[in-house]
Symmetry: C2
Subunit: 443 residues, 2 copies
């Protein structure tokens, strides 16, 4: 499945490091690493939850199938059933759970159906039952749950907000107040069952109320806050009337508020982050050491415009190449960049970062860089990312490709496709943002 | 002279580290570190040059006065005289050298006069004489030397090229072929004297033909190349007729070519880089260690849009704050960013980087960051840079300042001025690009 176009001994080592690391952060593996059955208890990272009734799984996001598989393996016939929602093309058959596919990043009718099915599942739980919620990135779009409004109206509001300059916190505040699952409302619906949540985080900094819009987590914002956000950005009068009506009803106490800290003890709950970008960078470090390479993990907090971030990554790679030290080193940067699209090309943030990095590294020798979206799905392309080394610009020149033109046109996919520099992984069954890894110190 | 608004014990240590490092990279200090008189020889970083005639200094750039002072101190009465050209406000009286001030970054009539005086000085040298050239950043604008055309025409061409999308190499190729000093022509003019050049580099990567346009260094480009660049960008027909005439004469061999590698042995020459951003980062490391702080020098190759570079620097600072390790560390980033000006405010690249970094660090505690242009002159402002710590955003909020609005308006100077966060150093008598230093690990 993997296609990682790396040459030579150093390429072989880099590929092996990446494959070992991806193996260890796959949804099923991290769930199994953090979940045990011990007598009549579930043990989640050392926290014990007594099994007094049935156990059901609700798994959502790009890694949901693998996470559910891991839980099935551990729970065996203690598991009663469950529902798994993932992106089209990401599903695999499971033992006891039903798997649904839905639209991502644009929600669709199948997502709506999945959200209703999830709601029906959790509403049917009894005191003593355990709802085992497995969350990975993408869950928010996969499970659209418009409350009292149509999906179209909710998407219209989201679009208005995205273009308004509102912060992501402000956008989420509004969206949670238009949803019957987000902002902890899934946990409310599951009452009185116990709720155990395992999270594979794709949010830099791991804010639990942001990951998949926090369906089982508390949210401190109110209907009033949501209305104030919409008014602050001059959007209130442009809203569909159904949206204004729902928010007004919320203020009057006639629509359901998000889960509040004071509701915390309404049903037993355990929430654990079992994997994130930092964890992945850690397993990259482990794998590097196993293969005789010294790792340096610089950060898991990378944000910013991909082409500019690439210049700083390049600056640090150059410093290592400039130094006399010739031992193999793996330089690791984690996070998630953004791309302000101004051209009409095809690409993703990891590919665009790679292209800009290739330009910045002009004239330097002795490095191999892989820039990857860990879910295997970089932007609206079938590639996970791209590979850059000291032959990239030369190959481009030989084929008459101008890297700067491709960069200006946000056309990184076609640039790397022509050079056979794209990385394909297929669905990786994980989702922990992006990494850029640079192997240096090989002669 | 210095104003570095840092509080507390950690602030005192950071200030002391910076002051010690600046002391060690001052023009006079680095010249004295690298120059000795030994019997009848000059010794420059171990290279001996026999003194057989008179010694003259030509020093240009923002650090030229200090560099000349260092050379005067070592050479004593072996020095016959010299000429020093610096920016308005950067001069100090010297013993044997005449000091001229000129325009920077916009060249002016005083620069033209200085260039003619420099040319007259070096033309008068004899066999056996030594021309001691001390170069620091800014030298190119301070010593405009249009060859056969007016200064206005040369500036017009430069402006056309800057807006054309030509690379800096292409722009320099044209400019060197319109100059009677650049591209090694100063060294040609000094023939048959020996030429010793000491360089304080303000060019990332230390390309000698770029620093102050390489007046004593070889240049591989030709008049044909210059004409091709102008035609490639569709500028040829828009040139003043004097410029076209000069370039045509060059192609016909009737104007002076730049210094070529095959001319290398025409007069004895020694060129040494005696200081650059990496050297400065090294002395920052030394000073940190002296004060009990562990330094990490990440790179001296930073380039990119200041506000985006800031996000990656912030990402690395956050990773250090996130780790449990609580020992004091100094994180050091060197290089030079750029700012695409879109607002109407006042600022410089180091101040804008600091403002963006403050925004990115929202919610984090326990750090102090100083973002500085080492020449003491950040953009068109009287500040050298700015200071950011975990009180910056709070202070802004208390005064009703929105950091994002100031960032959008490229108004970092007024933001930090209102918070008393600007750093003032006056002319530092050095010029080795910019640094961002972050002190972490203090509680």
């Amino acid at each position: 499945m993997w296609k990682l176009p790396l040459d030579g001994e150093s390429g072989r080592i880099l590929e092996e490091i990446l494959k070992r690391a991806f193996e260890r952060v796959r949804g099923d593996v991290v769930v199994k690493d953090n979940l045990k059955l011990s007598g009549d208890c579930l043990v989640i990272r050392g926290k014990r939850v007594k099994i007094e009734g049935d156990i059901y799984i609700l798994a959502i996001g790009k890694a949901s199938v693998a996470m559910a598989k891991g839980a099935e393996d551990i729970l065996g016939d203690r598991l009663k059933g469950g529902l798994v929602v993932t992106k089209y093309g990401f599903s695999m058959p499971l033992g006891r759970c039903r798997v649904l596919e839905a639209g991502h990043p644009i929600p669709d009718e199948n997502g709506l159906r999945a959200a209703r099915a999830a709601y029906d599942l959790v509403r049917g739980l009894s005191d003593g039952d355990i709802l085992f919620v497995l969350i990975s990135g993408g869950g928010s779009a996969l499970l659209p749950a418009p409350d009292g409004i149509s999906l179209e109206d909710k998407m219209f509001v989201t679009d208005l907000l995205l273009k308004s300059g509102a912060t992501i916190q402000e956008i989420n505040c509004v969206r949670k107040h238009l949803s019957f699952l987000k902002g902890g409302k899934l946990r409310k619906a599951a009452y009185p069952a116990k709720v155990v949540t395992m999270v594979l985080s794709d949010v830099i900094g791991n804010d639990l109320s942001s990951i998949a819009s926090g369906p089982t987590f508390v949210d401190s914002t109110t209907f009033e806050d949501a209305v104030n956000v919409l008014k602050r950005y001059g959007l209130w009068d442009r809203l569909p009337s159904s949206v204004r009506k729902h928010l007004r009803e919320g203020i009057e106490g006639r629509a359901q508020e998000t889960l509040k800290p004071e509701d915390e003890d309404m049903n037993d709950s355990v929430t654990e982050i079992i994997g994130d970008n930092r964890y992945f960078c850690g397993v990259l470090c482990d794998a590097a050491i196993e293969l005789g390479v010294s790792p340096i993990h610089f950060t898991s907090f990378v944000e910013g415009e991909a082409r500019e971030v690439a210049k700083v990554v390049a600056a640090i790679v150059k410093e290592h190449l400039f130094s006399d030290e010739r031992k193999p080193q793996l330089l690791i940067f984690g996070g998630e960049t953004t791309v302000k699209v101004q051209g009409s090309g095809k690409g993703g943030r990891s590919q665009e970062l790679a292209l800009s990095l290739a330009v910045s590294m002009s004239g330097w020798k002795g490095y191999k860089v892989v820039s990857l979206s860990t879910d295997g799905n970089d932007g609206p392309t079938d590639a996970a990312g791209a590979v850059v080394d000291d032959t990239t610009l030369l190959k481009a020149q030989n084929r008459g490709l101008n890297p700067l033109s491709y960069l200006d046109n946000n056309d990184s996919y076609n640039f790397f496709n022509a050079l056979e520099g794209l990385v394909f992984t297929g669905p990786t069954q994980t989702n922990v943002n992006d990494v850029v890894v640079a192997l240096v110190g090989y002669t």
